[in-house]
Symmetry: C2
Subunit: 190 residues, 2 copies
């Protein structure tokens, strides 16, 4: 469920103890990286702790590190050339997002006690093993759409809407405005 | 707020009377259309009625029409070569999604009586007029991420999670499953 925050920096998330990781499989380095970049930025902005990336892509890892240097937080893109052992040894429920899965609303209640969850986001071709290795195959609407959208809805359903307070260690912070843009830069201490 | 549906075909949406349109500005036809395709598929799957597209792109309009022939519903991609008059004459609140805007949680309560809403999704460069023409500049988290993610979260917050029952007139329908894929094809009447 979405729990609306007040937008204040100190509003706790609805599930402060749930640590969410994302695994992106089927990335194609060298081809247009924009969709995987959107997956990673969405994971970061909506509260995931890290994104495992298969196959690894040092450029993308570095690009997200640069985002963190500017905008804060400790999100990281972790190379995952072996994703099956990663899922087998993961200490929490694994949710695989697929248009063929069960409705998210039916799966959410089963996750209420989890401390860690892994959300798996497929690319163009999804290895069939993924369906077996996931505890839950989960769909947002049983229609074709977008892995970015499915990830976003799942994260907000698990963690609530993100607050607007900026992330720890940010060099830049947005001041929310009704019109226009306002970004403040943190001053270094003299 | 998200209202979880039971996944049944007949579960009413939380706001059945709200009709949502999406306007995508700054699309670049001929370049990689995948992001705009994701925006359109997300709009359709999460309950928007139509997506206006600026500039127009007949290929993309046709591609979404083909999706509708297979998967049902009456979503359409409408060419919008003149987007400013469209926004000026729109009979309802216009929400422009931007990382610089006000938190969605602060804007949602102001929309509770709207019958129609327009969600504007920018591309790489957003015309400054958009900030003025929108009733609300809205951010999901005040962080850089993805217009697909922002649209998805906004639609689910306005309309609730989509149900899994398939759309009207669909030729194919997914039967949600815990494992694997099941798609049924509607038989034509003899």
């Amino acid at each position: 469920m979405v729990t609306a925050s007040s937008g204040s920096r100190r509003t706790p998330r609805s599930r402060p103890t749930l640590e969410v990781s994302v695994l992106r499989v089927g990335h194609r380095p060298g081809r247009d990286p924009r969709l995987t970049t959107h997956v990673a930025l969405t994971a970061r902005a909506l509260g995931a702790r890290r994104m495992y990336l298969h196959p690894s892509d040092p450029d993308l890892t570095e690009r997200l590190r640069a985002v963190g240097r500017r905008w804060g937080g400790d999100f990281e893109v972790v190379p995952a050339d072996e994703w099956k052992p990663l899922l087998r040894s993961f200490d929490g429920p694994v949710l695989h997002l697929t248009m063929y899965g069960l409705p998210l609303s039916r799966v959410l209640p089963r996750l209420s006690r989890a401390r860690r969850a892994m959300i798996v986001v497929g690319g163009a071709k999804v290895p069939p093993e993924l369906y077996r290795l996931a505890a839950y195959n989960v769909s947002i609407g049983s229609q074709p759409h977008s892995e970015v959208a499915a990830l976003a809805v799942t994260l907000v359903s698990l963690l609530g809407l993100p607050d607007a307070g900026g992330m720890r260690g940010a060099r830049f912070r947005i001041v929310p405005r009704a019109r226009g843009k306002r970004v403040v830069e943190r001053r270094e201490r003299p």
